[in-house]
């Protein structure tokens, strides 16, 4: 610790070079912060504690196929099932059919199974009592500038209303917020309406259900319960497939895009370049300072201390740039997200990104510092002072 001023002085011996290198490192870690957040949110999605005890039961044939609502009571009676709810895909869009919204028609007890979604009790009661009421995620509210109490027109890309048109109108009765300690995920962009209103209004549904959500009493028993539920409809016209929410979500994400691979390749390219760049800077820095290092050795610094000094210098260099970069990513993420008008979902830089990032910084710092540090350690005092 007492060498910190020395390291600092060495670092800023050539201001231009150090600052330019710092800015490069900053750019690399800014990118890391933004991309890793996206990757994490994909990995973590559906993995919440509440998600582990939830199962999804959908048609085995296809996700667009519906199930009879009569299954509700039969699933409820299955051993190990605590609570059952159901939902339908509404296929809502605002203003343009391509401007789609995650909109579901849900059973009255739907929110009971999702403790990670927080709704003001008064608004919840309003939702239960208003036929045309909808609850809207915070992010979605912001995206379209909606307010509680407003009447909004939505078109369904699938279901006609009773009058045969695809235009529906709803009253916003409340906002959904992520509960404490829960990540917003896509609940933020969701819209919920009463299943009963939906079912009675469209001539197309006639009491069918898109999928069931089941809470099991014991998550360890999830597989057994899933099999038991699927056995209820085996060999019928409506065979079901039940899986944990995490598995369902992971499979969906995997089909959408291999995010891990894309982010991995980009970060690989970025860090490879960064290694070369910072390595070059450190090599230059040590080359310039050979006589000084020799002096240090002459006045009694041991080989190990010199090695440590150079290594520490490169680690500090990467740490400063990296922390600034991640900090900038934390600041810039929300700005970018707001600027994209809901097209881009950039989660905040979480502790996972910070710890992984800090680990990477130290590793990169050690790696790029290694060769110059070894060179500094092996210096022969006489040769170095003579400039040979």
């Amino acid at each position: 610790m007492k060498y910190l001023p020395l390291i600092w002085a060495e670092l800023f011996r050539r201001k231009t070079r150090t600052i330019l290198t710092l800015l490069s490192i900053l750019a690399a870690f800014l990118l890391f912060g933004l991309l890793n957040g996206v990757r994490e949110s994909f990995v973590q999605a559906g993995k919440s504690a509440a998600g582990a005890s939830r199962l999804q039961t959908a048609s085995r044939l296809s996700f667009i196929d519906t199930l009879p609502s009569a299954l509700t009571s039969r699933i409820e009676r299955t051993d190990g099932v605590q609570k059952v709810t159901y939902a339908n895909w509404f296929g809502g869009a605002y203003q343009d059919p391509h401007n789609q919204i995650f909109s579901f028609a849900v059973a009255p007890n739907y929110l009971d199974l999702y403790p990670e979604i927080e709704v003001d009790p008064k608004q919840r009661a309003a939702f239960d009592n208003t036929r045309t009421g909808v609850l809207v995620g915070e992010g979605l509210m912001k995206r379209f500038g909606w307010k509680v109490g407003q009447k909004i027109p939505l078109m369904s890309t699938i279901f006609p209303n009773r009058d045969g048109s695809k235009n529906w109108s709803f009253d916003i009765v409340g906002t959904m917020r992520p509960a404490k300690d829960a990540s917003a995920g896509w609940y933020d962009q969701m819209l919920l309406m009463q299943w009963k209103y939906f079912d009675e209004s469209t001539p197309y549904n006639r009491g069918s259900v898109g999928w069931y959500v089941v809470r099991v009493a014991d998550p360890a028993q999830a597989d057994r319960v899933a099999k038991a539920i699927d056995a209820l409809s085996a060999n019928s016209d409506h065979e079901t497939k039940t899986q944990t929410e995490a598995a369902a979500f992971a499979s969906w994400m995997k089909q959408t895009a291999n995010i891990g691979l894309i982010v991995g390749s980009i970060m690989g390219a970025v860090f490879f370049t960064l290694l070369l760049l910072t390595g070059n800077t450190m090599a230059q820095a040590v080359r310039e300072r050979i006589p000084e290092l020799a002096v240090l050795k002459t006045i009694g610094f041991r080989d190990g201390s010199v090695l440590g000094l150079v290594l520490a210098e490169s680690v500090v260099l990467v740490l400063i740039g990296g922390v600034l970069g991640l900090g900038l990513a934390a600041l810039l993420g929300p700005v970018l997200e707001a600027g994209s008008g809901g097209n881009l979902d950039l989660p905040p830089v979480g502790w996972r990104s910070w710890s992984l990032g800090l680990g990477l910084m130290v590793a990169i710092g050690l790696l790029v510092g290694a060769l110059p540090a070894l060179r500094a350690m092996r210096l022969n005092i006489v040769d170095a002072l003579a400039g040979r």
């Binding site: 044939l61 695809k166 370049t273």
Partner: protein
């Protein structure tokens, strides 16, 4: 006062650079070719141009001594270009696959306000009415080239996935006219499905994604067994689909005699207007017609835009990093060559040749980096097969397409980075007082 002046000069330079880069990235290639020609003429014909040429030669010939530092510029820029080109090639491949699926002289008819085929429903009567609309081409026997189709999604096991892991595939129930409406679709193995039986033909793209799609094998749709009897190839989005008999598919999905969409071959692209007007004017119908080109372009629009934006944002951040790397290297280069440059200027060389020489050297390294990055992206990703959920329904397989246009964009970025990375060191080299430089170095 002095600081204000230098600040203003810096700000002016910055604005100039930003404007220049924007123009550079936006201008089409003939302009740039003209600029290049002008520059070449200047180099060849004027005295300063020739001076710049010889100073550049000296710089380039000593590049080998600065191999490590120079490679930082090359590799840094190669990284930016490779990532940018790969992302743009992904967007390009995706858009291209869907664009190829449509044409101007085929129309697709769906229920109004349906974003995708799978969301639409047309009852039997509407199907018959649409078939009588004017402007539809007829085959040799005089039958209208109209194909009412039933598009649904089906769950199938993914190749290489966990035992119980399903993916979603688009299943298209078609009638005999489907093959005539889409002449590109070709059976490459086995045979066509027979009407009225649970038989399927699978596209080559779907075959890559899902397990069990081999001629002669059976797959499970819900609680039914369907036999795969053939494999087809069309070279577009159809390749990611399964095709079966429309009535049999409708029965399996309990859709009766309704259909989801109608694809019709028109007499010529000009006939679309009248066709659309006739459908819109018919009180019995509530349908939207669009050309398939339009329909498929719309499908790809948002996704392509998102991939492009991500590519450009990521590329821009990487480019900023690479600019600082290039600046670093070139400042070091100028510093090591300070005495040499000062000597030249003492001999009477003006600053313009010196600036041009340093810039040229950087641009050369940048060009090298751009070519390297482009080549890398091309080798790794051209033809790389990826898939995603398209239209919210089924897996769509598409190939990355590293097209010349995409490579050109990558090269332009590389040169822009080289330009900025070389400009400031060049200016420093040209403005450093000769006496100081000669004494210090």
């Amino acid at each position: 006062m002095k600081t204000l002046k230098s600040f203003l000069r810096g700000a002016g330079l910055f604005l100039l650079v930003v404007g220049g880069i924007a123009a550079w990235l936006a201008l089409p290639w003939p302009f740039l070719l003209g600029l290049l020609a002008l520059f070449a003429l200047w180099m060849l014909l004027t005295r300063r141009g020739r001076q710049a040429g010889s100073v550049t030669q000296v710089g380039v010939s000593t590049l080998r001594q600065r191999l490590g530092a120079s490679s930082v510029v090359v590799v840094g820029i190669a990284g930016v270009v490779a990532v940018l080109v790969a992302m743009l090639a992904m967007a390009e491949g995706y858009a291209e696959t869907l664009r190829k699926s449509g044409s101007e002289d085929t129309a697709i008819v769906m229920r109004g306000a349906s974003a995708a085929e799978v969301m639409s429903t047309l009852d039997h009567d509407s199907v018959l009415v649409v078939g009588q609309a004017p402007g539809i081409a007829r085959d040799a026997q005089g039958r209208p080239l109209v194909s009412p189709e039933m598009v649904v999604a089906a769950n199938l096991p993914i190749k290489g996935g966990a035992p119980d892991e399903d993916g979603s595939v688009q299943l298209r129930g078609v009638g005999p006219m489907a093959w005539a409406v889409r002449p590109d679709v070709e059976i490459v193995a086995g045979r066509k499905f027979a009407t009225g039986r649970r038989e399927l033909v699978a596209g080559t793209g779907a075959q890559q994604q899902f397990a069990g799609l081999e001629v002669g094998k059976s797959i499970r749709l819900g609680n039914q067994l369907w036999q795969v009897v053939g494999i087809f190839h069309a070279g577009d989005a159809m390749d990611s689909e399964l095709w079966g008999d429309a009535d049999t598919v409708a029965t399996t999905y309990r859709r009766g005699s309704s259909r989801t969409s109608i694809t019709a071959k028109l007499e010529n692209p000009g006939a679309f207007k009248a066709f659309k007007a006739a459908l819109a004017g018919d009180p019995r119908l509530d349908v939207d017609a669009s050309t398939t080109l339009d329909y498929f372009s719309k499908q790809s629009e948002q996704m392509t835009k998102i991939i492009r934006i991500i590519g450009i944002v990521v590329g821009a951040i990487m480019a900023i990093g690479a600019i600082f790397g290039a600046l670093n290297t070139m400042f070091a280069t100028v510093a090591t060559r300070a005495r040499e440059i000062a000597t030249l200027r003492a001999l009477g060389f003006r600053s313009v040749p010196v600036v041009v020489a340093v810039m040229l050297e950087t641009m050369l390294l940048a060009l090298l980096g751009g070519l390297l990055g482009g080549a890398l992206a091309w080798l790794l990703f051209n033809g790389y097969t990826a898939s995603t959920i398209a239209g919210g329904v089924g897996q769509l397989t598409f190939d990355f397409r590293v097209s010349p246009a995409v490579l050109w964009i990558g090269l332009k970025w590389a040169l822009a980075i080289g330009f900025v990375g070389g400009l400031f060191p060049a200016l420093r080299a040209a403005t450093l007082p000769v006496t100081t430089a000669l004494r210090d170095a």
